[in-house]
Symmetry: C2
Subunit: 472 residues, 2 copies
């Protein structure tokens, strides 16, 4: 889709459809255009060379702007940036509406000025619900080529953003390869790398954390998870829990606070952090270090106490022009989901909510992509802007390529169901096209319109392999 | 669990737990008792011989009663039958409460007097949410041993009832083997067999249907799906739809009505049908022949018109003392789910709702066990009493054994999430026991408490195979 300037062309994917057979002869069906996250990886004509990186689509736009200006700052000044226009075209929204949503903090465009390869996308309650996929090596596992393969795999299946949670060797180098080859925003949890440097949680310090932030910011990370909402007063509230503190970041911060008998430097230095983020236009994802780890602990005082602090930090970040998203649970029974969304909305002034699931029952390890998709679809319908995927290996082990695919497609379905339930403009077009194809036994269209055409085709062929069965 | 008479012993399963390691030494964890549907198939001491059938647990109770009396009739007369007591013990409810729910039609115990092998279970909005699994051969597929294996597989994974939807050869014989070996109620759609006899829908007749009903009733089928709510005036309403009539039973009835320009014999002869059902105490499952086949068609005039007729038929069945459940959609976007539940509740006087999913988006064939579990969990929370499972092969092909397992476990998770959200007494005990085991790294307990211990264990061992990793 062309935009207002020649260097603004929005990626989308067209699905060709075969004609409907009618008594009066074939009646053509127009192709269906769908939102696509794959960048060059879903473009059959793209030349790819990981060592060179992918096209720097945003380079000319960034060059026109001073460092230290953010999408939020431009929006407040009334400017529609090329990124906003790109997002508007991609979402089917008015550019001025996108600008206004960003100005008031209800949507974000996570786009570091050092990551020109990213195709602009927005996270916000009036945008399509987005899906994040986590990748990253661990001391036990994979290297750079494997992580790059996971990234490509993730965006082809539809991940809107990817978080690199690497903790093993070569964190810096892995991230560099990912950023130079990623058409979607990349998020990280900088305290993980800072801890690799420090060794023990109590040895973390503001200078070390600051150095890590800048290192990652320079590389081009688009959003940082920062657990600045874990305050000393909240930590004892987690002691009564069935499963205590389960967030890795949250438990690092809690250990530091207890060792030093002080508020964390993440909270104390939050304004300085925001100055760094504003310089690069990095979005802050305020981590929920005290998220519940089981349904019994959902919506408790620790979680809600931290949420109020996140609301306070949201206002502080916005004062710096820094874009904000809020991370949310985790594990929540269905009857508490709508209230969790409402609590975030109120405490955090409508900053976009970004939830992990939530899982609605704890009794199905091996199926937690499903128990969490049940919660994710619901909270997405009620207004959550981005859903962090969960794979079938959650709580059990590390996902392989097929688990990543299953997790992403499951979450794309949940996010889309939320768009349909919200009545998002045009959301149902793909459902209706697929249902019509199904009703008319146009099997190839049925497969091609599916979120996972390969799996749909394989399942069909398993019992009804002959071509004839695809005609009738 | 022993009941009030020596021949009343309720099946349950106990999960042994290992102790928690504490500074003061190991602290024992009591075993957890869970609802179990497996009958002799989950009893390590049971001697099994399919040719002889399983234990006829209900035989002495049935022998004490006259034919033509139903659980509903007894309940209305103030009698607590052994079946009601069994259900009360199984569910953790008061026997008098179960009796009262059955008397007013808000719960059913599907238990044909010719199926003494079935362990009593109840379907109702104040009972645990139940799961049905469909099996059955087709002209293309399996024989008796395969269907028997599917039945055993289904109840071991937790199916509360099983519907035999066979359409191929040896329907009668297959059903006989299933009934004599099934510890759970068996449902069928008698018009499928009647159609096998008739050849074409328009050649169906009341005598043929009646003969088929009696044939199946004599064998011991516990509930019949009957599409008596498809009336002539509703059929034109389905013409405006994207996907018309997708229910197989509904389309058979609609074809018959159009060929004969008359109301169906299912509707016209409904009182005679009820007389037969009352004789055996068979529950009627009023089929939704006009259920929507895609989200675009959800909650339309055809669906709602039929639902009102189902309400009228409910009252007619109750007048005969016949127990009733109501079948529901199918495909419903999330924002219409609660309203669908409310509409059923009002139109059908709180007769238990039994839904197929519903699927909340049409774009994920290959993942429809998930898109439907999202809807199923929600509608279960809002009061649906039984969920008909959907497998990953839905819309694409016939499920194999692993698809059946995935479908059942997915639905057990959805049903349990609904119980937790409803605040059903004791529902969260298993979640909490598993979460505690997870937090304390008691891996074997973690696996054993899972709905699918084998899959949880296999996923864990895939990346962390060493025993050491199960200790820490």
């Amino acid at each position: 889709m062309p935009g207002s300037r020649p260097d603004l062309r929005v990626a989308a994917r067209e699905i060709d459809l075969s004609p409907t057979e009618t008594a009066g002869g074939p009646r053509p069906n127009p192709p269906l255009q769908v939102y696509d996250t794959g960048g060059p990886y879903t473009d059959p004509d793209a030349a790819l060379d990981p060592a060179r990186g992918i096209t720097r689509v945003r380079a000319p736009w960034i060059a026109e702007r001073a460092a230290g200006t953010t999408q939020m700052g431009h929006a407040r000044a009334g400017v529609i940036t090329p990124e906003m226009e790109y997002v508007a075209l991609r979402e089917g929204l008015e550019p001025a509406f996108v600008r206004d949503e960003i100005a008031r903090g209800r949507a974000v465009i996570p786009a570091n000025r050092h990551h020109p390869e990213a195709e602009p996308m927005a996270i916000g309650r009036h945008c399509k619900v987005k899906v994040n996929a986590n990748i990253g090596n661990s001391p036990l596992s994979s290297g750079v080529p494997e992580e790059l393969e996971k990234l490509v795999h993730a965006v082809r299946w539809g991940a809107d953003t990817v978080m690199d949670l690497s903790t093993g060797e070569a964190i810096h180098e892995t991230r560099e390869w990912l950023l130079r080859n990623s058409p979607v925003p990349i998020g990280t949890v900088p305290i993980y790398q800072a801890l690799e440097k420090a060794g023990e949680p109590e040895d973390l310090s503001w200078p070390l954390f600051r150095e890590t932030l800048i290192e990652q910011a320079e590389q081009g990370v688009d959003y940082f998870t920062i657990h600045a909402g874990v305050r000393r007063e909240h930590i004892p509230l987690a002691r009564e829990r069935l499963t205590g503190i389960v967030s890795r970041g949250g438990s690092i911060v809690a250990k530091w606070c207890q060792a030093h008998q002080a508020e964390s430097f993440l909270y104390e230095r939050f304004d300085e952090i925001c100055e760094i983020l504003a310089h690069y236009d990095i979005t802050v994802s305020l981590g929920d270090g005290l998220r519940p780890g089981c349904v019994a602990d959902a919506s408790d005082a620790a979680q809600m106490g931290e949420l109020r602090t996140l609301g306070e930090l949201t206002e502080r970040a916005w004062a710096h022009g820094v874009q904000v998203i809020i991370e949310g649970p985790g594990h929540v029974p269905m009857d508490q989901i709508e209230a969790n969304m409402a609590a975030e909305r109120e405490a955090c002034h409508e900053a976009p909510f970004y939830t992990l699931g939530p899982i609605v029952t704890d009794i199905a390890p091996g199926y937690d992509h499903i128990t969490s998709a049940i919660g994710a679809a619901q909270i997405g319908w009620h207004g959550t802007a981005m859903l962090c995927y969960v794979t079938p290996k959650e709580h059990l082990g590390l996902p392989n390529a097929d688990d990543v695919r299953t997790g992403i497609v499951t979450y794309k379905a949940a996010a889309h169901a939320a768009d349909v339930a919200r009545g998002h403009p045009g959301a149902r077009a793909r459902d209706d096209a697929l249902s019509r194809a199904r009703y008319e036994f146009r099997w190839q269209d049925h497969f091609n319109l599916a979120l996972d055409p390969e799996r749909a085709r394989a399942y069909h062929d398993e019992t009804l392999p002959r071509e004839a069965h695809k005609e009738a």
